[in-house]
Amino acid sequence: MNMIPRFKWLPTPYRSLLLFIVWLLLNQSAAFIHLFFGAFLAITIPWICYRLRDPQPLIQRPLLTLRYLLRVFADIVTANAEVALLILGPIKRLRPAFVRVPLDLQHNLPLTILAGTVSMTPGTVSADIYPTVEHLGPDDPLPQRWLLIHVLDLEDEAALIATIKSRYEAPLKEIFQC
């Protein structure tokens, strides 16, 4: 896990990249002035906001990230089609359930991404991550954390937990090297 940026003037390189793309998307143009101004903003804005963020682990494996994103995107499409069918289908056949997933991830950003992914993909919604800071004393060591999820139609609890851990949590651990 690495939380120290490589360049001082570019504290959050991926964020800057994202912003640069966003600027071009907003202007829908790749004219020089937009490139120039976009680059300027993509550097200055993170710099302005730098203090307004908690340090987060940096992405160590960009390519893997890309793969992860593509996979999630595909999952979203398929999962949503499933959910749509469930919604339109007979309600009585639904098997809703609450499931608790043990977490290996520790850090906020990966955790957030995981929870987000879980919410967007297979008929599940992240409900809570606990214990939280408030449950612990200031000096308590971080214990095992859990992700509580709600499943719309649960077939096999163990399989679901396994899927989540292998398909999403493991790549994230890889990406952030934590």
């Binding site: 959910v83 919604i87 639904l94 809703p96 608790r100 919410s119 008929g123 809570d128 214990p131």
Partner: protein, 129 residues
């Protein structure tokens, strides 16, 4: 080319419209809050993606313009929808909303509720129970 684009536009718009509608139907049809949450979070997001894609194609039909900024809305929704859902479900836990009767893992629900409110003991971890 034009015709192909038009078909694409029509396809994406209709697809998106359907998903949006299904999401909202889910909101109405589902028996409890927790199940209702799924429709809007997922189907609607995808539906929006469809409509925005339709829009992208539509505005890109004329040769000199390219419309891509709809991507931004999609990205934004993808980022925020899970958080909204998370906050909502936390609220539901806090308000001790009843899950529909045949929901499995009721114990997990109770535990979650206990953690959300102050009843969850400080030293209490799931292992202890």
């Amino acid at each position: 080319m034009q015709n192909w684009m038009e078909w694409a536009v029509a396809f994406f718009l209709l697809l998106g419209g359907c998903f949006v509608l299904i999401g909202s139907i889910g909101l109405v049809r589902m028996p409890d809050f927790f199940t209702r949450l799924h429709g809007p979070t997922k189907a609607t997001t995808l539906g929006m993606g469809g409509i925005l894609l339709g829009s992208i194609f539509y505005f890109s039909m004329s040769p000199e313009t390219l419309s891509v900024h709809e991507m931004l809305i999609t990205i934004f929704l993808l980022i925020t929808a899970p958080v909204s859902a998370h906050m909502l479900i936390k609220t539901a836990l806090h308000h001790r909303l009843k899950a529909v009767e045949h929901t499995q893992g009721e114990q997990e629900l109770k535990r979650g509720q206990a953690f959300a409110s102050k009843e969850g003991n400080r030293s209490e971890t799931p292992e202890d129970q």
